[in-house]
Symmetry: C2
Subunit: 185 residues, 2 copies
């Protein structure tokens, strides 16, 4: 048997190609050719291309939230600021092609309500996680502040990708810092 289970191999390849080339632009055949998996196997694991896209997004959701939690827990100073360092790393990793969810939604917003729903849920989870890491902020302000921090994250992602500003995370981090000090006062 292959070193990697077929299903995981397919998800890895699909995630890489979808991110770099886009969803409609990446054909099933391309994923099969690069992964070396047969078409019958793909359709045994995923009922359709849309299901494959959803599986990639769900896995990406888990990966991203786990990475966020790691950074939040390992923080020495203010935890939520560490999230922007995570973004900074990501933007400079050579594997950055914008947010999978934003990109997928742009292509499938009309075509697949499930994909749009998956994106909405992802963004809501990010806000929720941020909110849990604002203990020094009055409870009434937490939701609003988490919304603002999430907006800064999204802004940084777009600035880095579409605007070509690879250091957007540092700018957003600085904005988050003044936002926090303002809210704590």
């Amino acid at each position: 048997m292959a070193a990697q289970p077929r299903r995981e191999l397919l998800l890895d390849t699909a995630q890489r190609l979808f991110s770099a080339e886009g969803y409609h632009a990446t054909g099933i055949d391309r994923i099969l050719a690069e992964s070396g998996v047969s078409k019958a196997t793909l359709y045994k694991h995923f009922a359709s291309k849309e299901e494959l896209v959803l599986a990639v997004l769900r896995r990406r959701h888990d990966q991203f939230l786990q990475a966020m939690e790691r950074h939040l827990q390992a923080a020495e100073g203010e935890p939520v600021l560490q999230v922007f360092d995570l973004l900074h790393q990501w933007f400079h990793s050579g594997d950055f092609h914008g947010c999978n969810f934003i990109n997928a939604s742009a292509e499938y917003a009309q075509e697949s309500p499930a994909i749009l729903a998956c994106t909405r849920q992802h963004k809501a989870s990010v806000r929720q996680l941020l909110e849990q890491w604002l203990p020094t902020v009055p409870e009434v302000s937490r939701a609003g502040l988490a919304e603002r921090l999430a907006l800064l994250m999204d802004g940084a992602i777009v600035s880095a990708q579409a605007g070509g500003n690879a250091d957007a995370a540092l700018t957003a981090r600085d904005m988050a810092r003044s936002l926090l000090s303002h809210y704590r006062r």
Copy 2:
């Protein structure tokens, strides 16, 4: 002859479909069917689908910057804050499907360097225009502040589209307000 010149009719139809359905998801035939223009005419005006996409983006660039300038000039209070009111109107217009440039870049970043370049230029122009409307801010701070305001705009657009938060522009406007007061001090 038709009430609207063929070329403009094609651009209108293409812009509407590309925005709502995506670029790869919208076939040439669909644009022809909805506009009632023949295929030969389309290829007389645009050498390829990519050229059509570029023409749509360039027109959108002009439209957006003109709308920004209108709001900046008509402002009573702080001009740059009016830009977020423009966003707010846009998000609630029923014709909002995210930023054309962000979406196009996600689909064509690898496939077409020209489309990516068009997006970069658009985002740079927005920053530049903002910078020109910050007279009350020390000149050394203007570029940095314009970058931050542009980041807030992009964050609001993504929050509204992918996050489903139609009032993101109001949040971003409020963040911009404190940012401005901080910079003016």
